[in-house]
Symmetry: C2
Subunit: 348 residues, 2 copies
Amino acid sequence: MTEKKLSRIGELFLLDKIRQDFPTKSGKVLVGIGDDAAVIRPEAGNLLLTTDMMVAEVHFDLRFTTPYQLGFKLVSVNVSDIYAMGGTPSYILLNMALPEDTNMKFVEMFFLGIKEAMSFYKIKLIGGDISSAHKSMSLSATLVGYASKPVRRSGAKAGDRIYVTGNLGDSACGLELMRKIKKPVPIQNKTKNKAQGAQSNDHMRYVPFKGLSWTTVEPLLRRHLMPIARNPKGFAHKATSMIDISDGLLLDLTRLCNESNVGARVYIENIPLSNELKKTASHIGISPVSLALSGGEDYELLFTAQTGKKVKGIYIGEITKSERVLVDKAGREKPFTAEGYQHFRISK
Amino acid sequence: MTEKKLSRIGELFLLDKIRQDFPTKSGKVLVGIGDDAAVIRPEAGNLLLTTDMMVAEVHFDLRFTTPYQLGFKLVSVNVSDIYAMGGTPSYILLNMALPEDTNMKFVEMFFLGIKEAMSFYKIKLIGGDISSAHKSMSLSATLVGYASKPVRRSGAKAGDRIYVTGNLGDSACGLELMRKIKKPVPIQNKTKNKAQGAQSNDHMRYVPFKGLSWTTVEPLLRRHLMPIARNPKGFAHKATSMIDISDGLLLDLTRLCNESNVGARVYIENIPLSNELKKTASHIGISPVSLALSGGEDYELLFTAQTGKKVKGIYIGEITKSERVLVDKAGREKPFTAEGYQHFRISK
């Protein structure tokens, strides 16, 4: 069964399997998978809608990721966009264009990743589309959520403080590690991984540099392969603006500044870096700060709040009227643009 | 400008252009394109959500279609799923994975097609995602709509009559013509096409068989290249079940029967065939009935209603308890399955 190729099994069979695996009709879902459209009784509040693609050889490399991780990540990156609006995710629709030689085992593991992420974020699958693909795999998801008071990118005001929810650069460092490792690393969700941690000798084959340990590289790989979106519940109501960091701090901060028509002063020393990043970056020969500034896919939240408001976040700078500068330890200022990121991408 | 390649112009520029072209903030759209998610104030009634992909070399062939037609069709096939629930489409989100050598002219014409379809169906673009693609183009859309009383596939009862909204097989015949023509045909929306009709001598180079005229093949090509989704307003409240015919009458009727747990008796003679189809199919050497039964992408609606209800539709048969048969002119019955379609696909 699991050795069968997708083309043999066919779309109809696969759809039936998905319907069995993901029963959706319940509560506010009047019609789930299996009709021309899903039918939802909308909740109170504003409806949030977002969609994000993951394209093979652009967003992921099938030699580096397991299908389980791919499914989990596809959900996380879309949930992250709902969280970035201060919202609660509720429903997901999935699109998958799969090459005809994709085997059923791949599809099963992909859906296992989807399922674990759905359970983690408490969302339901209500629809989607499956197609063969002539060449490379292409995935997308649409997330539906709610927010009583959506937090926009455009609400930052000069004088607001800038915060991030966690360490930056880990995911980009994880990607650099994957480029050395060049094979899938069997990282699963946290609970399962504890068991794996016990056999850490096995995992040394995924440590590409002498002098590094599995416990150092594992969190970086995890951040890249199976990112967890940050839930802003608890501080979203205090945020004046918010965005998720998917393309790197400088690019996403530039987006926020552009929408708010403001500038920003960021204190490099305040940018939170994990010990694992600091240890590993030197082995790779990249500055950890440059990974934190320009590396993508951290899926931390970047938000602003009025000075004096107590928020759960790491203070990294202030919103200015228009100047956009990085400030180093010695107090020297350097202008920044989103370009930093684009150069980084080209050099990849 | 229009000669520039997408990779040079970049995602950010393209997004800015789209935001200018598709201003969305108005009325119930609190946040449109340009934030982490769109924000909508939901209307009364049930929310409908559907998503459909169009993948290069699976759903379309870039040698055969213009980017304008592709954009228009992407909207139509998704609107069709909302109509098939008896709903009104409201919002669209778009995903595009475009090969890096896609030029800006292509993107502009693609968006022109999207825009004309959006205006035709009175829907608004509220979000999406743009990515480069390593190899082939992959498109998808998510449609959001409303229905006070959604019409499901599962409501058909034995004794109900089966109806379709229009001629079947035209689109499949149009596809067969395209396989002979092997180049894009400049069909645009109806109003523009009238002007084109005047220069029909020009169009004879798109007529692949002697003895056929442009006025015969044009409607078939149009149905394939630029399908129009059928709005069920006016009869949806009388329908007991409904589905759109995207994969052929037999396959979609089988889906409806499976969901309703019933059978169907279809009178072949009642299946509406256009004169253009009858004329053209004989030149191609395919039976027009087989195109009507198994050809996909007609985007007509297939629905059932209680006997005695007056509905705007073409009566093609009745729902039975379980037997699924085609009845010919002489009254002979032949069982049908969805297989008919799959064989047809394999032979393509």
